[in-house]
């Protein structure tokens, strides 16, 4: 018989609230005949800077209790959040003064929810608090000023959760992957309404030029597990979607049309968030919904930057777009080419200013900057045919090759300092060299590029990311997909089926050929894992950034922010890998 224990959350003496909001007993909305506690939480604060990262926390204190006999905690809660299409709460346990990671649950608005918190891996020998918190999500025009949550009971159950097993048989399900990925991107569109997710959004958010002019941020895709935007991630996504478009069979008209349409959504954002003088939105942190009215407290302003890395990044993808869209929309293709040339020039003019490279924003290393520059130069050479871009590419390739430690096969971030390697930079380097090799296969330097690719991928092939018991790998899937992506780039350039197989093996691991027997991509091969996301409940195509393996080797089913939110980068890498492994003859 299943062991159970139930606690009512209606004893005001055991409850306390911190942060904005308040609790009160409620006799009107009953749970199983008992009164409830109503927690009222504002959606935003008068001063958004506080509201953006604010939480309201409800703490239920207990006499120390040993819950090790129980596997799951159920929470009975009724949310009344008018206008909200995504309603979440986060739950944690405090045991021996140690707070577990918060676990997020998605709730259905306007009804009683019985949501589970998997206790595997959670310290619970001496539980003294159950902590429930609500993140303030900001407010769109259709949202009420505050939300109410009615709490009924907490119930402990002996039975632990188990994920639905799935398996991957036969060929990679490229159609399923593509359709799910398109669904993901569409659900994460910013700007116009996405039915079931949000109304038109963020037209009161801006990137500001040093001279005071502003560009709108509404558009592109929400990323980073919240509502932020990143030029680099947007560019990666558009690049992947376009590359997959090129790789799919021509008879797949509808799917290819959708890929182009979705890729353009990102490209347009990249283009209307540039000031055409080098400055552009590089990263916009938007942690909340806003009211669309300019001149109110929740407007978001971020600085625009003249960032060489970002401009190379934009140039590379715009140059690719100028080829891909040439038949579909020649004017747009020409515009993309012109943007690419301008952005390349802005980046090139600034890349030699040491402080611009290393001084502002994120640290971009010699390898990453030159690898990105290499990708841009090759793409422009391919799009425009101007030999000057090839010359630039040759130079950048030299720098990139010099960053390889030939003994280990590891790319270092700097040719002199030989800093530790970064998978992202290595993939950029591999992609840049692979593109160059395709464009100039007979160049005298091509032997060096081939050797560099071979040495690096030899190392890569033998160092796939792996999992271990008790491991919390916050960005495991990003690393896995970067690994796959790097291999697939080299595979396409070197025409190596073994490298392509190695890249495909990473995808297969992701989709079910793994020790847990589950797919980590929602909507593909039965994958249906919950995702940490306070703003969107549509998770088809979502890919977690990481995973948490319990000491017994099982997968933690707790929905923790650090490894269970989704980002675009792993998905982009997956699509790029898929595209490169699908190319005919390779």
């Amino acid at each position: 018989m299943t062991k159970m224990n139930t606690y009512l959350l209606n004893d005001m003496r055991s409850l306390s609230v911190s942060g904005p909001g308040f609790i009160e007993p409620c006799a009107q909305r009953l749970c199983n005949g008992s009164s409830t506690v109503k927690l009222t939480v504002p959606n935003t604060l008068p001063i958004p800077a506080e509201g953006y990262k604010a939480y309201t926390t409800l703490t239920h204190r207990l006499a120390p209790q040993n819950w090790t006999a129980y596997g799951r905690l159920f929470l009975h809660v009724y949310p009344d959040c008018p206008g909200l299409q995504c309603v979440t709460l986060e739950i944690a346990l405090c045991s021996d003064e140690h707070m577990s990671a918060f676990h997020q649950v998605h709730l259905t608005n306007g009804t009683w929810n019985n949501v589970a918190f998997d206790l595997s891996g959670v310290s619970r020998e001496s539980v003294t608090q159950v902590v429930i918190r609500r993140r303030l999500t900001g407010r769109q025009q259709n949202m009420s000023a505050s939300c109410a949550f009615y709490f009924g009971e907490l119930r402990l159950e002996e039975t632990a959760s188990s994920p639905c097993a799935s398996s991957l048989c036969g060929e990679l399900p490229w159609r399923e992957i593509t359709e799910s990925a398109l669904s993901y991107f569409h659900a994460h569109r910013c700007g116009f309404e996405v039915p079931g997710v949000h109304l038109p959004c963020h037209s009161d958010c801006f990137a500001v030029h040093p001279d005071g002019r502003r560009v709108f941020l509404s558009g592109g895709w929400h990323d980073l597990g919240n509502l932020s935007h990143s030029l680099e991630h947007t560019a990666q996504a558009s690049q992947s979607l376009m590359t997959l478009y090129e790789a799919l069979p021509e008879e797949e008209t509808a799917l290819r049309d959708r890929l182009l349409e979705e890729a353009r959504y990102g490209l347009e954002w990249m283009q209307f968030t540039r000031f055409a003088d080098g400055y552009r939105c590089v990263q916009a942190d938007i942690p909340a919904w806003t009211d669309e009215v300019i001149g109110t407290a929740d407007d978001v302003l971020c600085d625009a930057h003249n960032d060489p890395y970002a401009n190379f990044c934009a140039a590379a993808v715009s140059a690719q777009a100028s080829i891909v869209y040439r038949d579909e929309d020649a004017v747009f293709a020409l515009y993309c080419l012109n943007c690419a040339k301008e952005d390349f020039r802005f980046a090139y003019e600034h890349m030699h200013l040491h402080e611009m490279i290393y001084g502002i924003r994120e640290l971009k290393t010699e390898l990453s900057l030159h690898a990105q520059a290499l990708c841009a130069a090759v793409a422009l050479y391919q799009a425009d045919g101007d030999a000057a871009y090839l010359e630039h590419a040759l130079h950048f390739a030299d720098v990139v090759c010099s960053c390889l430690d030939v003994k280990t096969g590891i790319f270092c971030e700097d040719s002199r300092l030989l800093k530790s390697d970064s998978q992202q930079s290595a993939v950029l380097a591999l992609r840049g060299l692979a593109l160059l090799l395709c464009q100039a296969p007979d160049h005298p330097q091509s032997t060096l590029w081939r050797e560099t690719l071979s040495i690096c991928t030899h190392h890569q092939a033998s160092s796939a990311p792996s999992v271990a018991k008790g491991m919390v790998a916050e960005r495991f899937f990003e690393e896995l997909m970067l690994h796959a992506c790097g291999l697939s780039c080299a595979a396409s350039a070197l025409r190596s089926s073994s490298l392509a197989d190695a890249a495909t093996a990473d995808l297969r691991w992701l989709l079910g050929d793994n020790p847990f027997g589950i797919s980590f991509m929602n909507g593909v091969c039965g994958g249906n894992l919950p995702i940490w996301d306070a703003f969107c409940s549509k998770h088809t195509g979502a890919l977690r950034t990481g995973l948490h393996i319990l000491p017994d080797g099982k997968l933690s089913l707790s929905v923790e922010e650090n490894c269970c939110h989704s980002e675009m980068t792993p998905l982009s890498c997956l699509l790029l890998t898929l595209a490169q492994c699908m190319r005919p003859g390779q």
Binding site: Q141, N142, L199, G212, R213, V215, R264, D329, F332
Partner: protein, 833 residues
């Protein structure tokens, strides 16, 4: 619903109108005109020199050897796309300016010629759309002072990077003292990435004589007027021509070309003259057909329930291609983020989104909300008949609704009209930003409330969160409007605002069932009925049932251009159907019946077309500014010493009459639906046919649909399949249709107003009558035409789709007669739906 292969192909190509539909240029009027061989030709200017050329506006004109025409130099004009202006000064300006090359002539008489031919080479690789204007300049005072809206102007969509041969038939133009031809380019802003300077090269200009197309009057000559889209089963199926060269006509199967139906041609005297009538109403077999009379054949058209499908999908395509804010491949990139409506307290909302209103880039709440409302109503009608089209309409409606709701400040103020005539760069703080004042206007808020409440009804099940927000906005907007009604200096006729209030109240009542909306609606409708001519006037030709602008009965309600005559009638119709037991319901019924009587009475004056005339007009006092309309009024049909019936509306500069026509048509459709009036529904269908080819020019006026469709006025995109222009107009004081090739604004300008009204009318007539009810043994329907239908019974219920018509229905031995209307649902065992 079964579609033709042609439509299926179009939907595949356009991904159900999510990608621009391409017109079949073989059927375009311009193709037909370009194919004409000139009878004679005269060189006006070789354009290989600068003699007799002058230049006006920003930019340059010079002789060029960059682009040659048949080895000769050409004239190059380089206007800028944008000129520097003071930031903020564009708040009420549509364009930055105009620039042109003027080809000068020494006061020549061109009346012996009727066509201009010229060559233009645009070099604009960074522009999605290349448009250009030609304007004729005739040296008479009345011509030189004519409004730009009435000037003899042709607008062209040109292809970049090649010589474009342009021909312009000008038999209608004033050309007895020609002093110039302007080759014009508007300075209309640019999108990011478009070049600062445009380049146009000109080749030779010729004056020619051809057999010109008809452009004015009611006569058809050799043309065959018919509905190019087709006819629904049970509908009147008529076609006309002026003279018959055979005693009979045939319907040919469009695929096999074999005759499937033959009947006599009858020559009938009508109020507008003698016409040969081809009546094939008795033929109802679904398919595609061609009509043949003697040696003449029409293009193929449909008979069947899908008769309006192609036109409807194309209208949806038009709206999609008018979307603002987002990128539309081949049309524009993300646009107008830096246009704003501003609250009096200083707050702003970006007004990007929604639909560009017309040939320019403006937007308005009224047209947007009414368009959404029309789509929602049609989606409702089609929810079972054609679920795919219904869903597509809902999606497009949602696009408009989002704009309506996004651009409101939540206190009554909202974007009412954003007049935009330029592309902008999407950067806030530079010179091309546009800031327009928000307003709190009763009529506009009623429009918003009506559409939002209708949206609640349509989205309640599929997206409750969105539906709830729509309803919240609707209830708030209704309150804002009601608070200000009668207390504002309303820009509109009182009956329009009150009528729209009743529509909003009716939609809110349907959505919520709240008695307060029924009470408020009844209160508004009592005032509406005070504006109606209910008594028979003491006229030589007495007509009643029409509305005046207000309760003083001073001026009949008429519109020259944008029209809202449907508002009071729709309010009556909706409430009569939603609350038939209300104490005022008999009054509502009487008002509807009188309006129906009015429509039937006036439509007789335009036979054989059966066009609903422009309206009843009262002569204005000779010393009043409005007296300038008296000559137009007097050219109508005299009803009394003071009142005249105009077949076409009276208008000033803003001419083009599909708006008034379709507003009246929607009114008639609303009456037909409420009173189950088949005769009135047949009149409604005739108006749709007028739009789609049953007119004296035998032209479909919807671009890309049917045959002989003409180039429309659209500056900022390519010609858009599915666009319906402002409409057929009149010349001077004449009271007859006028539709030359010249496509100046406003009359040939594409417009969401007219296209949405077309959809709104379809909501009342699309598809066959749906009948259902309870029966155990037998359910039959015998039509007046002698066709008997057995209605299949399953589990004690029957359900069937029947062609419109008069029937004798027998259900389990109980027999009764009734009319069944297209697009309507009948629960025969109970109340009508």
């Amino acid at each position: 619903m079964a579609y033709s292969e042609e439509l299926k192909r179009l939907l595949r190509q356009s991904r159900n109108a999510y990608k621009a539909m391409q017109p079949d240029m073989r059927q375009a009027n311009v193709t037909h005109i370009q194919a004409k061989k000139p009878l004679r030709s005269r060189l006006l200017h070789a354009m290989d020199n600068l003699n007799a050329l002058s230049f006006s506006g920003a930019g340059t004109m010079e002789l060029s050897h960059d682009v040659l025409f048949e080895g000769r130099p050409t004239v190059r004009m380089c206007p800028p796309a944008q000129v520097t202006v003071v930031p903020g000064s564009l708040t009420r300006t549509k364009l930055y300016g105009d620039t042109h090359v003027l080809v000068r002539f020494p006061c020549e008489d061109w009346r012996a010629y009727n066509r201009l031919s010229l060559w233009i080479y645009p070099d604009l690789p960074t522009y999605d759309n290349v448009y250009f204007l030609l304007t004729m300049v005739n040296d008479r005072p009345e011509d030189l002072t004519r409004s730009g809206l009435l000037s003899d102007t042709l607008i062209l969509q040109l292809k970049h990077g090649q010589w474009n041969h342009v021909v312009w038939e000008i038999p209608n133009t004033h050309r007895d003292r020609m002093i110039g031809l302007q080759l014009r380019s508007s300075v209309d802003g640019r999108q990011a990435g478009s070049e600062l300077t445009k380049r146009f090269y000109f080749g030779p200009i010729h004056l020619q004589e051809v057999e010109a197309d008809a452009y004015e009057g009611w006569m058809l000559d050799q043309r065959i007027a018919f509905c190019h889209t087709g006819y629904q089963p049970g509908a009147d199926k008529l076609a006309y021509t002026q003279t018959a060269d055979a005693d009979s006509f045939e319907l040919l199967d469009a695929k096999t070309h074999e005759a499937v139906y033959r009947a006599d041609v009858k020559t009938v005297p009508f109020p507008l003259g003698d016409f040969a009538v081809m009546d094939f109403s008795a033929f109802n077999t679904p398919g595609r057909y061609i009509l043949r009379i003697g040696s003449r054949e029409t293009g193929a058209f449909s008979i069947g329930e899908d008769a309006y499908a192609s036109a409807t999908w194309k209208a949806v395509n038009f709206f999609y291609q008018e979307r603002c804010g987002c990128a539309l491949p081949g049309t524009h990139r993300v646009c107008h983020l830096d246009t704003f409506c501003q609250h009096p307290d200083g707050r702003k909302i970006s007004s990007g989104g929604g639909w560009h209103d017309a040939g320019d880039l403006s937007q308005g709440l009224c047209n947007t909300s009414e368009s959404a409302h029309a789509m929602l109503d049609l989606a409702y009608t089609l929810r079972e008949r054609d679920p795919e089209l219904s869903e597509r309409l809902l999606d497009e409606a949602r696009w408009g609704l989002n704009w309506c709701m996004k651009t409101r400040f939540g206190d009554g103020y909202r974007a009412r009209w954003t007049r935009i005539g330029t592309w902008t760069g999407n950067i806030l703080g530079d010179m091309d930003d546009l800031v327009l004042p928000a307003a709190s206007d009763p009529f506009e808020n009623f429009c918003g409330a009506a559409a939002e409440a209708a949206a609640f009804r349509m989205f309640r099940e599929k997206d409750p969160a969105f539906a709830d927000y729509c309803l919240r906005c609707a209830e708030e907007d209704f309150t804002f409007a009601l608070e200000r009604l009668f207390f504002e200096n309303d820009r509109y006729p009182a009956v329009q605002s009150i009528g729209q209030g009743s529509v909003a109240a009716a939609e809110l009542y349907r959505a919520t069932g709240k008695q307060e909306y029924l009470q408020q609606g009844a209160w508004l409708l009592r005032q509406v009925l005070e504006c109606q001519q209910q008594e028979t006037p003491d006229w030589e030709l007495p007509i009643r049932g029409f509305f005046y602008e207000d309760h003083t009965h001073q001026n009949p309600l008429n519109y020259p251009h944008r029209a809202h005559e449907q508002a009071p009638v729709l309010g009556l119709s909706l409430f009569y159907q939603a609350a038939p037991e209300h104490p005022d319901a008999p009054l509502w019924r009487e008002g509807l019946a009188l309006y129906g009587e009015f429509i039937k009475a006036i439509a007789r004056h335009t036979q054989p077309y059966g066009l609903i005339p422009g309206g009843i007009y009262r002569l204005q006092k000779e010393d009043s500014p409005a007296a300038r309309f008296n000559a137009q009024i007097r050219s109508g049909v005299r009803l009394s010493e003071e009142f005249y019936l105009r077949r076409m509306p009276v208008a000033d500069d803003f001419r083009g009459f599909h708006g008034p026509l379709l507003s009246k048509t929607k009114s008639a459709a609303a009456v037909a639906a409420a009173l189950n009036d088949l005769e009135l529904q047949r009149i409604v269908q005739r108006q749709l046919e007028w739009i789609l080819g049953m007119n004296p020019f035998a032209q479909s006026t919807m671009y890309g649909e049917g045959y002989n469709f003409a180039e429309q006025f659209v500056m900022f995109s390519h010609q858009i399949v599915g666009a319906i222009p402002v409409g057929i107009w009149t010349d001077g004081d004449h009271d007859m249709p006028y539709f030359p090739q010249m496509n100046s604004a406003t009359y040939k300008e594409v417009w969401v107003h007219t296209t949405s009204r077309f959809l709104w009318v379809l909501a009342d007539v699309y598809g066959m009558a749906k009948v259902s009810g309870c029966a155990q043994r037998q359910a039959t329907a015998l039509s007046d035409a002698g066709q008997e239908y057995t209605l299949p019974i399953q589990d004690g219920h029957f359900a069937a789709d029947l062609p419109q018509g008069h029937y004798r229905l027998c259900i389990d031995g109980c027999c009764f007669e009734m009319d069944l209307l297209s697009g309507k649902r009948y629960a025969l065992a109970g109340k009508e739906d």
